[in-house]
Amino acid sequence: ATALSMMYTGVQQARDFEDPEGLKEKSEQLLHEWIQHHSSLPLKENTKAFQQFVLQMNSQGLFKTDDMITRFFRICTENCVETCYILITKNQRQACYQRLDAFVKLIILLVKHSGDQTNHVNKINLFNKVLGLIAGCLLYDQESKLGQFEPMPFHRLFFMLLFEANLPENNLEPIIYHVLQAFVNVYHIIRPTKAPGFAYSWLELVSHRVFLSKMLQVSQPTPDQSFKSWNMYATILTQLIKFLSPFLRNIELTQSVMLLYKGTLRLFLVLLHDFPEFLCNSHYQLCDAIPSNCIQLRNLVLSAFPRSMKLPDPLTPNLKVDMIADIDANPPKIAYPYTYNIPSKLKNDLDSYIKTRAPISFLSDLRSYLQTSPEIGSRYNIQLMNALVMYVGTYGIQALRSKSLTPTHTNLTHAVHSTYIDIFQTLVADLDSEGRYLFINAIANQLRYPNSHTHYFGCVLLNLFSEANTEAIQEQITRVLLERLIVNRPHPWGLLVTFIELIKNPQFKFWNHQFVHCAPEIEKMFLSLGKNCVKTN
């Protein structure tokens, strides 16, 4: 908590320009000397030179108070940034790096030597303060320069700070967790919705291999801390999605948005390939943020499965889902506190309905809970919809388990379980097409690798299809499944399995429906899909 408050103090002090007289000149002179000195040193740190420099700073009174040292850092940051603006117009990027890298080295050395060897609090606090200060300067610079804002100096400072902090010679290993946390916090402060001019740099920083591997590897001091940093990283990703989502939803795809989106896709591909367990863990939080029309981005998240697992080919003839190992295993517990999205009154009513199956009026009230605005296109609280589906489903699975049953068509409609199915069926029947679309999507978001959720929600979806009293419901279920399958790979395993079951199992009379034959191109698509899935039968 103190580390974070140090950071915010830093952010604030970036706007405090009431320096004591002469401090600016003194600081700039010192910085200049240090930069000269640094460029003449070999790569390895020269301790003697640094000690001399510290003595000099001390004699200039810069170490007298915390306030003074903060001002020194602010003046240095401003000075570096200003010089970079000039150097960039002259196309001298290397010269920028030289100054910025020297400044970073100074920061790292000061952090390394602050406080004593065993007490790390000073180091952590100073590090947070400097990061906050640089973030504050960035925000101020962007505000005042607007379109002329140049992200490079800040980009370089943050990158080099992370890079240097991870070098073994700088001895920050004991506090590396706090260092990472500081970066997570500072990236939050300068997230794209706060600093859109820094968005590309921000994406590069959060997806840099050093940061990524430190955040997501499970080799941290304790597993607990690993999960914590997984959650922190998931939050960073949702900040990126939140920035993009109004533009993606509106298909407002300017070149600039496209580039950022492409970068996002690439990052997710890396995550899917190298850290699938992370995506498995954070899928709920991520899907909650991804706009409904971003099918491929969502598929990337939902296709992740633990590396230790071997998925049976969904096209295997007579695949018996019930027989698959792991199909009863629960996926990792959702770390994101999604039940907070459910208002307490709804939660109480829901709990008592699940227990007593009364009052019946509860079901008819459900829709009004979910609908929050009369405006078409944003009528529903999507997060609440997702939370509700997950909450009911989790209890539904428990209820089946307590009777040692597995989800099958008969078991789901069985008296023991009909409470849960009632809730789902009411929703699918009562909601308008916008709400139903979101509801079916919320279910489809659980169709992933073999686990109890995939199995349960897959059966629920098929149940809703076969029990539907209008063809509109069936059409919409088909639509949700289909639109997730006609995009480019990857496709989630559970989604494929559910869709194949739907078109293969004669019980669903899939081919008798009108919407399958409504347009020649759609019919052709279904036939080719059907051929693919059925031919092996």
Binding site: L43, R93, Q94, Y97, Q98, D101, Q142, L146, G147, Q148, F149, E150, P151, M152, H155, R156, F159, F163, P192, T193, P196, G197, F198, A199, Y200, S201, E204, L205, H208, F243, P246, F247, R249, N250, I251, E252, T254, Q255, S256, V257, L259, L260, S292, N293, I376, G377, S378, E434, Y437
Partner: protein, 152 residues
């Protein structure tokens, strides 16, 4: 779900992002500065290889390279994995690094004298200032200048 109307703030974000698009980060912004071989991006024709061959960053690959190439990597790519691999490859090709002269030496023949502190004989060495291999007769290689860090 169809389009929504962008808020004033979102439109502003879009405009600022458009500005940032003109100042995209360079690849070199997120790597150590390269003093000798800075990155200079140009459009190369599509029929020209765009990426290096697979395995170019392995020791086996480097061992097949010309020694001069390895010396080039060693002196011009300081502080990179490439430098590290080049040093490893040179060692494997029985070159030894002299920490005082900062040059690589190789025995031309069996040394005439070998003691615990030094060896003496004829050596081939790579002179980076003249960029050429030379021979030196009667040279004393003191072991205290032998770079003997385990690179594996």
């Amino acid at each position: 779900l169809g389009k929504t109307v962008l808020t004033k703030e979102q439109n502003q974000h879009l405009a600022i992002l458009e500005g940032a698009y003109k100042k995209l980060p360079h690849p070199s912004d997120t790597e150590r500065s390269r003093n000798y071989l800075p990155r200079i991006a140009v459009n190369t024709p599509a029929h020209y290889p765009q990426v290096p061959p697979v395995g170019h960053d392995s020791l086996d690959f480097l061992c097949k390279l010309n020694c001069d190439t390895l010396f080039f990597m060693f002196y011009y790519m300081e502080g990179t994995k490439a430098q590290f691999l080049a040093a490893q490859a040179l060692k494997k090709l029985s070159w030894r690094f002299h920490t005082r002269y900062m040059m690589w030496f190789q025995r031309y023949e069996e040394p005439k004298v070998i003691t615990d502190e030094y060896e003496m004989g004829t050596y081939v060495y790579f002179d980076y200032s003249k960029w050429a291999q030379n021979r030196k007769d009667g040279f004393t290689f003191e072991y205290k200048y032998l770079e003997d860090k385990d690179l594996s």
